[in-house]
Each structure stands twice: as structure tokens, then as C-alpha cells.
Amino acid sequence: MTDISTSGAAAPRPAKSILSGGREMARRNAAETRFKLYGMLAISVSLGVLAVMLWTIFSDGISAFKQAKLTFPVTLSSEVLDPAGNGLREEMTKVTTIGYGRLLSAAFKAELAAKGISTEGVSDKELADLISKDAPGVLRSEVLANPALLDTTELRSVLASGRIDGYLKGRVTRQTAERDGQISPAMLDLADRLMDAGILGTGFNSRFLTSPDASDQRPEAAGLGVAILGSAYMMLLVLVICVPLGVAASIYLEEFAPKNRWTDLVEVNISNLAAVPSIVFGILGLAVFINFAKFPQSSPLVGALVLSLMTLPTIIIATRASIRAVPPSIRDAALGVGASKMQTVFHHVLPLAAPGILTGTILGLASALGETAPLLLIGMVAFVDNYPAPPVEGFFDPATALPVQVYSWASRSDPAFIERSSGAIIVLLVFLVIMNVTAIILRRKFERRW
């Protein structure tokens, strides 16, 4: 592409006029134009692929942020919920979610009767099935937390079942309902009537971001709460583990270590570690942290340790590069006025390298945030229904992570989980974009010229 004239002695004289270029010139210009076209083509292909990817994810996943809800008045009768009649929490816990479920379906049925909505072709059991199986549990914990609610009547919004949710989002149709054990065309007709009456509607699904995962029967209740918390704990731990270790190692290697065979070996090893497949780190974590060190399985601590092993090389490489980019004249200047090596590094080199270190760290964290394979091996793919405790104990509690949640939802059978999975990808992407933008902003802000 870059033609260098090889015809030594008999080089053709350039054209006399600078207005006409001649054949040679036209050829060179054509090569340049072609090269630019290749570049633009490559960029448009990648942008196109990115657009397709984002479009599929968003068209599948954005509906996860909306949820079908049934709104009707519920009387929390104390006869059912507090049979002992003394308002004691211990007594009230004897009423299980089955009791609350009956209460809810009775209230629902009463509302339909009051509004005069026909329930033709829909049995009582099917009527109760319109309400999510998650709803009684939510109501129960609410009442147990606040017994003063007993014997009040309130308009309540409860989750509709996953199939109704799917019907509102176009996933469930009358054709599929005929072959579905959990829903019938008659129930869908009823759902239409409920919508007209304003009982059934969709709203923003804040529980998707806060609830824990839910079982296969209740896709409508599944949320990312535990996964987000687990990922946040891990990122915090990775930051705390990696930054001091990585920066200290880089400073030592760049500024203090003698240049000999050993440091060369260390350098080669660091570069190799950066290229080790992440699943290998997962096996290492399983063997060392769980089987040998006996750290609890599925805990953010173990996840963070494994992710730290993966992130450290990235951070060390980025930090060394930015330390190396500090002009030697600054070091000379500091040494020249009698600063010690350490003072030179900490007063002058590090502040100048800080933007680069920060960017490298955030990008390393971002890739750790999206890492899935090693977490599968240390058991973070488990179904976790309980939030981990606040730090520090929470670091030892079972948790899961965002990318793992994506994986586990994508492998479930109910199509409702596909929507959840795409929704989780959107959340993950939003976090990644936030981190990368932060990296760019910090770099712009702290970058100094000399």
C-alpha cells in the first residue's frame, strides 16, 4: 500500500506542472482513498453489529422493567390472619402464605362481583391463579412487620401471574394458551375485561431491581436485588484488594527493582496471567479458597478473590504503562533537588500517573464486573433467596452476581425468564457504561500536561 519508489537511477521526472499529477500520483491517491474506505467499512460493520446487539437486548429486555399488576381493595381481616386475636407476632406467624392466598383470592373475587365483571368459563382456582404466587408472601411479610394493618381495608397492587404479564406484553396469545396448563383462553378474555375495568394494568417494575431471585413458577417475582448487591460487594473487595497490591507492585517493578533475569521472569508471568482464561482462575479459586482455605462457598469474598487474581495483571500493566509515561525529566528534577527515590515517586511520579492508574483500575473492574465463568465454578450460580447481610459479615454470605444471574435466567425453561435475562443484561450494561464514562471523565479531569 505504501509504494516506495524502487527504480533507483532512472526515476521518472515529476510532471512539469503541479496542476496535473500524472499517473503515479493518481495511483497513490487511489490507494489512500481505498485505505480510508476499508477503515470506514470496518467501523460501520462494527457499529452495525453493535446496533443489532443493543436492539435485540433492548427489545427483549426493556419489558422486564414493566410488570402487570392487579389493583383491588383487600381487607386484612383479623379473623383469618390473627386467629388467636392477641396481635402477637409469634401467634400470627402460624398463618402461612396459604391463608394469605385465600384472603387475596377471596378479596379479588369479591371485587369482581362488586364491579359486575363476569367470570364465565373461569373456575375459582383459575381465578386465584391470575394472582401471582408471590403475592401472598409479600402481603404476609408486610402484615407481620406492621400488625397495625390488621382489619384495615386498602387498595392494594399485587403482581399478576407470569402468564397474564406475558399476555400484556404479547408473549402469551390465545393459541399458546390453549396448550398451556397454567392459562386458558377464557382467562385471557377475563384479563381483557379486567383491563377495561382498570383492575389489571402495567406499571414500572421497581421490584426487578430490588427483589431476590424467584423460583421457576414465579418468573414475575424474580429480581436482581441479590445479584446487584453481590456484584457491588465483589467490586468493593476487588478494589480494596487490587489497587494497593497492583499499584505497589507496579511502583516496585518500575522504579525500584533491578533489571535482571528475575524481574524479566516476573514481567513475563504478569503478562501471561493477564492472558489466562478466566475459567482457570475459577478452578484455582475452587481449589485454593474453598477447598483449602475453607472460605464459604458462593460468598462475595471468594468471588472477589478470584476476580482479583484476574484483575491484578490488568491493573499492574496499566499502572506500569502510566508510570513509564511520566517523563524522566520530572524524576531528574526531583532527584536533582535532593528528593529520595521514594519521595520522587510519591510526590511527583504517582500524582502524574494517577489518571492512568485510575482509568486502568476502572476498566479492570469493569471487566471483572462482567466476568461469569470463574463465578460459576465457585458456586455463585446458586439460587439465593436471601439478601447478604451488610458488610463485613455480608462478604461471607451466599450471593450471586449480575452476569451469573443473566446466565442462570437464560437457562430456565419459562420464556418469561428470557425477558428477565435481557433486562439483567441492560442493568449490567448500564453499570459498565457508568464505570467507563467515569473513567473517561476522571482522566479528562486529572490529566495534566507538562
Binding site: S329, I330, A334, V337
Partner: protein, 271 residues
């Protein structure tokens, strides 16, 4: 020869021959960079209250020798220095010497102006701060002001001491670096081609400054410009291929060189 005559016109003849005591005494200094023997058996006396110029073609070892005088060569991984360099009678390569302390006594100004990317004030105050030369802010302010005055920079920057040092012009930056170097009150000031990155006006200012600094410090300057050496120095050392060829009064070196190589260099035949 034409050149030489012009130089003679610049008051070379009436230059006072200094009779000051030697501040730095170097005897049999050899420097190796790995296999490369960069400096061969150099003997030099740097006198107090004198500007000493090191001249010579590129790669002749003059900068190398300069960097031996405050042990900046320690930072070069494969550099090996042998021989003896005494500062006020003490061997600076003695095991007990901390190069950090030595560098506070032997300041250095570099070829390219290299102020810290900090404020003008912090640039000058950094040396005194890390060496604990002041007890309070007022004293530090005093040092900063007096050093900037000595570096002939005070009037230009007194209203913007908090502005970044890197925002100054090239000549101002170099004078800031000189102020920074003298802030630790060194005894010897080493300058490695301090004017090569400056324009003629800034060069003239720095040269004037060097002449004034002579009163308080002994100055060693490496320069490529023979005119500059002739203008600012009292003693001149000519280096060639790692050897110290000739060392003597500046006037004598430029008007009556003893060695044919010196004559070839100053008349422009080698180098």
C-alpha cells in the same frame, strides 16, 4: 580564525584569573556504561566563586562527568564510576555518603526546563520542604522570594505564585528551575546545557544570571556553544572522546590553546 578574533574582542583578555580555593577535586575519574568506557582518567579542580565551562563535541563525556559530581549517574543502571571526587575534602563516593544529602549541596539545572507540574511557589519550596530547612511558613515564603529574586524571576511572577510553573515561557521556566536548584542553598550548581532550549533573549538573561550566581555558588556549566563558554566562564575544560584534553583559564583556552585538538575544536575543524 575569524571567529576566534571576535571572541577575543569580548573582554577575554582582561578576565580576572581566579585564585579561589578548589571546591571539588576530581582525580582519575573513570566512568563505564556497561562495556562503554565513557570517561577516561579525568582530573579537574572546580574552584569556588568561579564559573567553569565544560565544552566538547557531543558524546565526549562532559555531561557524564557533570552527572558524576552529584551522583546522578547512580540512577543509570549499568553506570560504574571509579576514581576520587572530593567535595570540600570529603569523598562523595564514600559508602557513608547519602546521595540525597549530596544533591542538596550540589544542585543541578537540566538541559530542558523541567519545572514540576505544580505551582511556581511549590516548585521553589519543594527542596527546602523535603530537607526541613525551614521552621514555619514565613521562613519558607522568605526563601521562595529570595530564590526567585536571585533567579531574576521575582518581578515577573510575584503576582501569580500559585499559577502552575509549566505555564511560564521557556526562559522563565529555566530560571524557575535555577531558583528551585538554589533553594536548597547548595555550594555548587551544575548546569547541563541550560540554554540549549532557549531563545537568544532568554539565553542572555540566564547567562547574566549565571554571572551573578557566581558570587554565592561555584557554577559548573556544560555547553555546546563556545561563545557561551567564552562569555560566562572563567575556567574552561575541553573534553574529547572521553578524555579531558585541556583545562585552564577561559581566556587562555580560547586564545592560546596548548593542545592541537582544542585548537581544532574551537576553530571549528572537529566537533
Amino acid at each position: 580564525m575569524e571567529d576566534q578574533k571576535t571572541m577575543k574582542d569580548i573582554h577575554l583578555e582582561e578576565r580576572v584569573v581566579s585564585d579561589h580555593a578548589p571546591r571539588i577535586t576530581a582525580r582519575g575519574v573513570n566512568v563505564h556504561y556497561g562495556e562503554n568506557h565513557a570517561l577516561k582518567d579525568v582530573d579537574v579542580d572546580i574552584l569556588s566563586g568561579t564559573v567553569t565551562a565544560f565544552i566538547g563535541p557531543s558524546g565526549c563525556g562532559k555531561s557524564t562527568f557533570l552527572r558524576c559530581l552529584n551522583r546522578m549517574n547512580d540512577t543509570v543502571a549499568n553506570a560504574r564510576v571509579t576514581g576520587q571526587i572530593l567535595l570540600d575534602g570529603e569523598d562523595i563516593y564514600d559508602k557513608r555518603v547519602d546521595p540525597v544529602q549530596l544533591r542538596a549541596k550540589v544542585g543541578m539545572v537540566f538541559q530542558k526546563p523541567n519545572p514540576f507540574p505544580k505551582s511556581i511557589y511549590d516548585n521553589v519550596a519543594y527542596g527546602p520542604k523535603i530537607h526541613g530547612l525551614t521552621r514555619n511558613k514565613a521562613e519558607l515564603d522568605g526563601i521562595v522570594e529570595s530564590c526567585l529574586r536571585k533567579a531574576a524571576l521575582w518581578n515577573e511572577v510575584k503576582d501569580r505564585l500559585t499559577a502552575p510553573g509549566t505555564g511560564l515561557s521557556g526562559g522563565q521556566q529555566q530560571r524557575l528551575c535555577i531558583a528551585r536548584a538554589i533553594a536548597t542553598s547548595p555550594e555548587v550548581l551544575l548546569m547541563d546545557e541550560p540554554c540549549s532550549a532557549l531563545d537568544p533573549i532568554a539565553t542572555a538573561q540566564v547567562e547574566e544570571l549565571i554571572d551573578e550566581l557566581r558570587a554565592s555558588f561555584s557554577v559548573v556549566i556544560v555547553t555546546h556553544s563556545m561563545q557561551q563558554a567564552a562569555r560566562v566562564s572563567q575556567k574552561t575544560a575541553f573534553f574529547h572522546l572521553g578524555h579531558l584534553v585541556e583545562y585552564g583559564e577561559t581566556g587562555q583556552i580560547f586564545t592560546n590553546p596548548r593542545d592541537p585538538r582544542t585548537e581544532s575544536y574551537i576553530t571549528g575543524r572537529i566537533g
